[in-house]
Symmetry: none
Subunit: 221 residues, 4 copies
DNA sequence: TATGAATGAGCGTTCATTCAT
DNA sequence: GATGAATGAACGCTCATTCAT
């Protein structure tokens, strides 16, 4: 059986290995956990270091400041996943309604899952990090809205969807996903029975689809 | 002999004496502002004191610690406003749909207005103040869900509304309000044109009503 | 007999007295000692605080940073004494030679005495504090040169003194005083027999006077 | 089989191999620059290494600590140059006055030139490095004083020079050179017009010679 | 009741030093 | 011999909290 990395033998294990390439992301992983648990201000670099299995000084080998760790974390975590969603949407060609359903499920699963902590972080720290708020506002939200608006416009053109300000529809679409993410990071510890996110999202998708369709129908002569 | 404190002359008594009793809530008002702007950790007692027009020491006359200020703030701010909503709902007797519309508008206005800062605070600090998260979870959210469920059940009984888990419907109903609140505290600084919360909420109410009604209809034979 | 301040009774002595007015100069006094002994970089705020009989935090009540302590120290210590010299010189009216003698003695005593540490500080830290070097260069040296040049010009006019660039004569006049100051702060610890500064300065005054007089005489036809 | 290190081919051997022996003095050269610019405490080993074209670890191959670098620097830099002066003086045989003139010029040029940084370093760091202060006091200054005293005594014997404590005359002689050195390292950055060191030294030599001669004359019956 | 001077624990950051490679 | 990743002690600075006035 292979020796577990979890229990290195202190006698044969070298004090460190040349792992420059792996360090930054190890540190960011650790930082994510600490920032989520405590928020930026209450997070101690020493906590992050410890969780990454290094000492304080090592963190500063790779990031010039605590704030830089935070910013790197946000950038690195959000953008790649975002691109995955864009790829799906842009590759699609067909009626709009099913794509909406699929995107809501797809994004919802992520936002209420691995990505759930980011809304919390952004909301918590936007005040202290306008730079991050701006980044998120324009690089993530605006981009998401633009993507959504492109698709939505197709549905409006075919009469499937009502002609409503797409920024509003985007927000209505996203709101339950955001709520799910917040619930998970903030209140799920107190739930006897875990929130059934999948059901919530599915119901959301159904209600939203029917509601929009009804409005579209009403608008027709 | 000095004038007795027991019979203050209302004409010579300086105005500020009345403020003695008001001090705690003045401090909490000031604290709200500071906590919202900076978050709990970055808020300095001195900032709060200054904004309340007193000195640091005075804050400690009324609250034993910074954390106590925060907790008092959350408790006193939410519950009274909450009761106002409950009064409206419980006094109501009639078809459910219009009440929903009205409640969404009513709550929405507040949540996206004066109360907008509380979700931000709760979300930000829940990790560091489990006690506050628990309080909010059970004293505010659970109570709101219960109120909503009572009303919703009436609508299900009359066939107006589909028989869906009311906890999910509550969340779907509240989600856009929450998003509006978060938007205002987190991103509105970057908006060229302010988010039209009223339009968002009205659209939400329309879509939700039609979506639920459609589901209710589908469920009928 | 009055209670000595040097041995306060720990049981009756309050933790602190309201001595806001005295604190800054107490701290600067302490800082002077520490900066002189260790230089700016090696001086610890905690050392300064301890020597002033307070704690670290108290230093920061009165000065926003270590650098600010240093700058205040330099400004506060140099300028008042400088003005005393100017007063003597400007009040004087008579032949130049005796005034020179007197000024050299007067300034020499101070520079090799209570002020001896300042040249050392300025020289040591000028590189790291251009602001202080500039201040000293223009507020102290330039002013001293101007004072000296005014007097010197009178002697040139009467033929007592040779017509040499006054900036050079100033430096020649000051140089042994500077050397005395540096000797005291840098090497006197190793002297078996202390440097006789008074003799050095007196000899300097004599040699300089005769040397300048000789040059003046040579320049006359 | 790998080529033996014992018989390196002079044609293929890369040039840089020769530098192995030069490393320590390359490091000291680099260290001189950094120490002068920043002072001992603010100088970083990494700066020194970088300026020497090596990495931090390499510095520690040749010197056991930062302090050792500093001490080696001071020792190796002063003594060799000092010996050059001694050689000139001891080889001289003739009237004293012209030799003084020449020595003042000679030493002055160096002290205000390449060696100007050393007084600054010694003065700055004497407090933190008593060992260096002592070394400089006894190996450099005392030796210089002895040399000067030997020459001076000859002048006293011939009646050219007055019978003054030679330690004092030495200091009077050196003081303007010291001042020039300090000026260059400390204030020249603020000069619009550079200090004319040559003129200063020449004037110094003239004034000093005439002043001493006058005193010698006065002492004669 | 109110003040604000003083405290001291705590954290971000730096950098001399070590040592596996 | 040379590297540079890692360490950890040290120090500047902040700020919640205390308490003499």
């Amino acid at each position: 059986m292979a020796r577990s990395r979890l229990h290195p033998d202190p006698f044969t294990e070298p004090r460190w290995r040349r792992r420059k390439d792996a360090r930054p992301s190890e540190i960011l992983d650790a930082a994510l956990g600490v920032f989520v648990e405590k928020g930026f201000a209450a997070a101690r670099i020493e906590d992050i270091a410890q969780r990454a299995g290094v000492t304080k000084g090592t963190v500063y080998l790779y990031f010039p400041s605590k704030q830089a760790v935070f910013e790197a974390l946000i950038r690195q975590a959000i953008l790649p996943r975002f691109e995955a969603i864009e790829a799906i949407a842009d590759a699609y060609d067909g009626p709009i309604a099913p794509l909406f359903q699929r995107l809501i499920q797809e994004v919802g699963q992520r936002v209420a899952g691995e990505l759930a902590v980011f809304p919390k972080l952004i909301i918590s720290e936007a005040g202290n990090f306008p730079e991050i708020a701006r980044f998120y506002r324009f690089e993530v939200i605006a981009r998401g809205e633009a993507l959504f608006s492109r698709l939505y416009a197709k549905g409006v053109a075919t009469g499937e969807l009502p002609d409503i300000d797409p920024r509003i529809v985007t927000k209505l679409t996203v709101a339950p996903l955001l709520l799910s993410a917040i619930w998970k990071t903030t209140f799920s510890a107190f739930d006897e029975e875990a929130l059934d996110v999948a059901a919530l999202i599915q119901t959301h998708a159904q209600v939203l689809a029917r509601g929009l369709a009804a409005l579209a129908r009403e608008a027709r002569p």
